[in-house]
């Protein structure tokens, strides 16, 4: 995104919301309460925008969400990540008001919304299938939330024009949704969720229906929209990459429960459970290696050692010792498989009864190992993490 286009975006934004959101964005000073940096500095001074209090949702015998407690700060981008059936979509539907909790309570801006139906909750939602009204043009789709709020025709037209400008769909306003490409539909859906300026934005697998290139492009778009508009955003996805790139914080869910909540970096670097380690990226579980795993920290009981594939070095057995050899642990193994993936080379190395994955950046002059080669693996003891099994 070039500087000029960022400026243009800012201008169009000013036209839509001349007062409330002028402070958001890179050029403004961080003074408004909606600004993210502020929240991070003093998290306790700002009340939680959304709070789940021990929410449980059961369908007959099945428990979709089990005793979920979670609070989301104003302006935060929070992603709920989990495999299908982990209860993440139910959590979103509970917040949206389409599903009522069996137990527990949900608070928005400090007030319980148990008795508030979905159509009074004032949230923008982007659905997985976009849910654009097929019988209305793009313009009428965008006007819908404004009409429901009793906004007059002139003001509606003005807002639709500026948001269409913002999502680069100005010339598409009289099209029907079926005449748009997937990426265009996605942008209309985002625009429709944002146009009435709701304080909360909910995204349900927003990029699930797009192909890979478009998905990356839309990730950037969502990220910049969030930066500009400063909405409290909750996103549900099973795509770890999407979660890592978009979020301020990620909640990993499993079988209706929260497994871990942290910033993307902490979650990836310091997963607390084996499930999180495996779900978010690739993980080498250090067991059945035929030797004890050494670490700088003491190993808590009920845990197992884990190291990320990119932290492991691979070398020929005859190679001389490194300078920091005393801070490293070594292992000898045989190459079981090698996968070439462009910038990366992935080795599966058999050590003891275990297969370790090694990810090596391709560089010139590098030795390439073949199937059956005996190799020496080593890693920094400080890179070993202990995860609950």
């Amino acid at each position: 995104m070039s500087d000029s286009s960022v400026l243009k975006k800012q201008n169009s934004l000013l036209k839509i919301w001349p007062t409330t959101h002028a402070t958001a964005g890179a050029t403004a000073t961080p003074s408004g309460p909606s600004h993210l940096e502020d929240d991070r500095l003093e998290p306790s001074s700002i009340p939680a925008q959304i709070e789940f209090r021990s929410v449980t949702k059961t369908y007959g015998q099945a428990t979709a969400v089990n005793d979920l407690s979670l609070s989301v700060r104003r302006g935060e981008f929070l992603t709920i990540l989990g495999p299908s059936g982990s209860g993440k979509t139910t959590a979103l539907m509970l917040l949206a008001g389409f599903v009522a909790p069996t137990k527990g309570d949900i608070l928005i801006a400090g007030k319980s919304v148990a008795a508030v139906p979905a159509y009074r909750r004032d949230q923008g939602i982007v659905f997985q299938s976009y849910a654009l009204f097929p019988h209305l043009t793009v313009r009428r789709n965008l006007e819908f939330p404004l009409e429901m709020r009793g906004i007059g025709a002139a003001e509606r037209a003005k807002r639709v024009d500026s948001i269409l400008e913002r999502v680069h769909l100005r010339e598409f306003d009289s099209r029907m949704p079926s005449q748009l490409s997937g990426g265009q539909q996605q942008r209309v859906a985002l625009a429709r969720a944002l146009i009435a300026d709701p304080p909360i934005l909910l995204l349900d697998e927003p990029l699930g229906a797009l192909d890979r290139n478009l998905r990356e492009q839309m990730q950037g778009e969502i990220k910049s929209l969030h930066r500009e508009f400063g909405k409290t955003t909750i996103c549900v996805t099973h795509d770890q990459e999407e979660a890592l790139t978009l979020s301020d914080r990620i909640v990993v869910m499993r079988a209706g429960k929260i497994e871990q909540t942290d910033t993307p970096e902490t979650l990836y670097d310091r997963p607390m459970t084996r499930f999180v380690a495996n779900f978010l990226g690739e993980a080498n579980i250090l067991e059945d290696l035929g030797f004890e795993v050494e670490s700088d920290a003491a190993q808590p009981s009920g845990t197992v050692g884990m190291i990320r594939p990119e932290r492991v070095c691979i070398a020929a057995t005859g190679e001389p010792k490194r300078a920091d050899a005393d801070r490293r642990q070594f292992a000898i193994g045989t190459v079981d498989d090698m996968i070439y993936a462009g910038p990366l080379r992935k080795y599966n190395v058999r050590v003891g009864d275990s297969l370790l994955v090694v990810r090596q950046h391709v560089a010139s002059g590098q030795q390439i190992f073949r199937l059956g080669d005996e190799v020496k693996l080593d890693w920094l003891r400080s890179d070993v993490r202990f995860v609950a099994t």
């Binding site: 949206a96 159509y119 659905f127 997985q128 849910a131 819908f144 939330p145 429901m148 099209r175 909910l202």
Partner: protein, 591 residues
């Protein structure tokens, strides 16, 4: 508002108005009818013993099943290849053929039955033609025999066989046939092993539909058949009108119902299982040379390994075996379409006849029969009554049926299955049984012989059609659109009016049209509940056909054949135009 919210939480309640009407008009009476047939509260099988003890009854019973089964079978034999060729045709051709099949389906069946009297009668088209060419010296007895019954019934039922077959066949992925051929299957083997098993659901639903209608529908056999071709339903109808002995009628009705249920479940089982399907399957393939085709299929599997090597060549070759289909297919379709549509044309020509009695071709042209129709209050008042009833039925059944479909689409699966079955009962069991039960129900309500009574009698069936068609539309409706509307602050009523209703409107209008057609054409139930005091157009036509065969019927029938054209235009406007294609040109013009 609070009421709406509560309804939103218990959507099944939306089906209750429809269920209530059904219960009062049909449900309670049919249970009472059953109890009466068992001599409740003493409970004995005396009525059934009496019914089955009479050899004449047994004969009629067998005859009913025989006529229904043969008519169904012939429909399948003609309908399956027709549907196959239609599905294989290009899209515009297929659409045109579908329209040609739907037009007779929407035409008054009395008009079509009458057409066969004109064609097969002693001074009718065929006899006159044969006499003209000197092939016969005196008229042949073509009508009032079993053959005429089959011709008429197959003509009436064929669209109801073809339409379900087409709808199933259209859903079969054509690449499966290519895949089978790429694996070395010859075209016939590919058809037999892949396409045919996948089309069985259509065979099943088409056959069930036709068979059940045949069981309860006695008008065409009575009009075209001789005295010896009576159906059990004719017998029941006669008894209701003459000696109203409820116990005997009840027993006869439940015997008929039992046959329907037994045959349906047998047929259902046979066709759903894979092993026993072969027998029925082979029957349906009769129009192709059967022994040769079957043998070819068997032998064709022997040199499989060899042919598998040549699969690539086979894939790109048009296939010599299929070339003859290119000639036979269109010829066959043309014959079937002529069979379906020719009678309508005959009726239209007939209506301009100048002669004083039934003959074809007419000796001269005149508008006398139209004048007779519009000049006779008995005729045009009957038409007016029918329209009034039809409009009332359409409104009532569209509202009830749509609400029911909305409620059922949101209900729990088990409740949905059960309640759908209940709502469809009046259109899935033999119509004469519905007629008898409704008659009893309307007696209780004091509505026999009133227009209101006929409206209720028609509504219970019509709302089934509405519910089916609206449900089909709702099945393609994405519930998340409603959630999306709610997330944008649209309340339940706004959501329904702005999002749900516009999107299911084509289904509702389609349902309304079918409801009107159902009411406008209904004669079996009407004849039982009219009490000779209300005359609808079909009733008047039926009386006329039975008694005098006065060509005024031709004028009425001719006018009635124009109606389906109106229906088709209405359906076209609501269904085809509802696609959002118009806006493309507008937006491009703007851009």
């Amino acid at each position: 508002m609070q009421l709406l919210q509560r309804l939103g939480r218990l959507p099944v309640l939306l089906a209750f108005p429809a269920l209530g009407v059904l219960l009062v008009v049909f449900g309670i009476p049919i249970v009472r009818l059953f109890l009466t047939s068992l001599n409740a509260p003493e409970f004995s099988l005396a009525n059934y013993q009496m019914f089955l003890g009479q050899p004449a009854n047994i004969r009629v019973l067998f005859q009913t099943v025989e006529i229904s089964a043969i008519a169904t079978f012939v429909c399948l034999v003609i309908g399956y290849p027709t549907a196959y060729v239609m599905v294989a045709a290009s899209k515009p051709v297929r659409m045109a053929l579908l329209v040609l099949v739907v037009i007779p389906y929407l035409t008054s069946f009395l008009a079509r039955t009458y057409a066969w009297i004109v064609i097969l009668g002693d001074t009718g088209l065929i006899n006159n033609l044969l006499l003209y060419f000197g092939l016969i010296s005196g008229p042949l007895q073509l009508i009032f025999n079993r053959m005429a019954v089959y011709v008429g019934m197959v003509h009436i039922m064929l669209p109801m066989m073809i339409l379900p077959l087409v709808s199933v066949m259209i859903g079969i992925d054509k690449s499966l046939m290519s895949a089978a051929r790429s694996m070395g299957a010859r075209p016939f083997t590919a058809f037999w092993r892949v396409f045919f098993p996948l089309s069985l659901p259509g065979v099943r639903s088409g056959s069930l539909l036709v068979f059940v209608i045949c069981l309860g529908f006695y008008i065409t056999p009575a009009a075209l058949g001789g005295l010896g071709d009576a159906m059990l339903s004719t017998f029941i109808a006669a008894q209701v009108q003459t000696s109203f002995n409820v116990a005997r009628i009840a027993a006869a009705s439940f015997v008929l119902l039992a046959i329907a249920v037994v045959v349906l479940s047998m047929l259902g089982l046979d066709l759903s299982g894979s092993a026993p399907s072969g027998q029925i399957a082979r029957k349906s393939w009769l129009p192709r040379p059967p022994p040769f085709g079957a043998l070819k299929g068997k032998f064709g599997e022997l040199p499989m390994p060899y042919r598998a090597k040549r699969w690539a060549a086979h894939l790109y070759k048009a296939g010599g075996e299929e070339r003859w289909l290119k000639i036979v297919g269109p010829a066959f379709i043309a014959l079937v379409m002529a069979f379906l549509l020719f009678p309508e044309i005959v009726v239209i020509i007939m209506s301009f006849s100048a002669g004083a009695f039934l003959e074809f071709p007419p000796s001269g042209l005149s508008l006398q029969w139209y004048r007779s129709f519009f000049g006779d209050p008995a005729w045009y008042m009957a038409a007016w009554t029918t329209i009034q009833i039809g409009v009332a039925v359409t409104i009532l059944s569209t509202v009830l049926g749509t609400l029911a479909a909305l409620g059922l689409s949101r209900a729990a699966p088990q409740a949905r299955r059960l309640l759908t079955m209940v709502i469809l009962t009046p259109i899935t069991i033999p119509v004469i049984v519905v007629g008898v039960a409704t008659y009893l129900g309307l007696i209780d309500l004091g509505l026999v012989g009133s227009q209101t009574g006929i409206v209720f009698a028609h509504t219970i069936g019509a709302m089934g059609y509405v519910a089916v068609i609206v449900s089909a539309t709702l099945a393609n409706f994405d519930r998340r659109l409603e959630q999306a509307a709610q997330s944008m602050r649209a309340g339940p009523l706004q959501t329904f009016m702005r999002v749900t209703l516009p999107l299911i409107r084509p289904g509702i209008i389609g349902g309304a049209i079918f409801a009107f057609v159902h009411s406008f054409d209904e004669v079996v139930i009407t004849s039982l509940v009219s009490g000779f005091s209300v005359y609808t157009l079909p009733l008047k036509m039926w009386e006329n056909i039975r008694n005098e065969v006065d060509p005024t019927v031709a004028a009425v029938a001719s006018l009635l054949t124009l109606l389906p054209v109106l229906w088709m235009i209405a359906l076209y406007l609501t269904w085809w135009r509802s696609r959002p294609q118009v806006n493309l040109s507008i937006s491009e013009a703007k851009g």
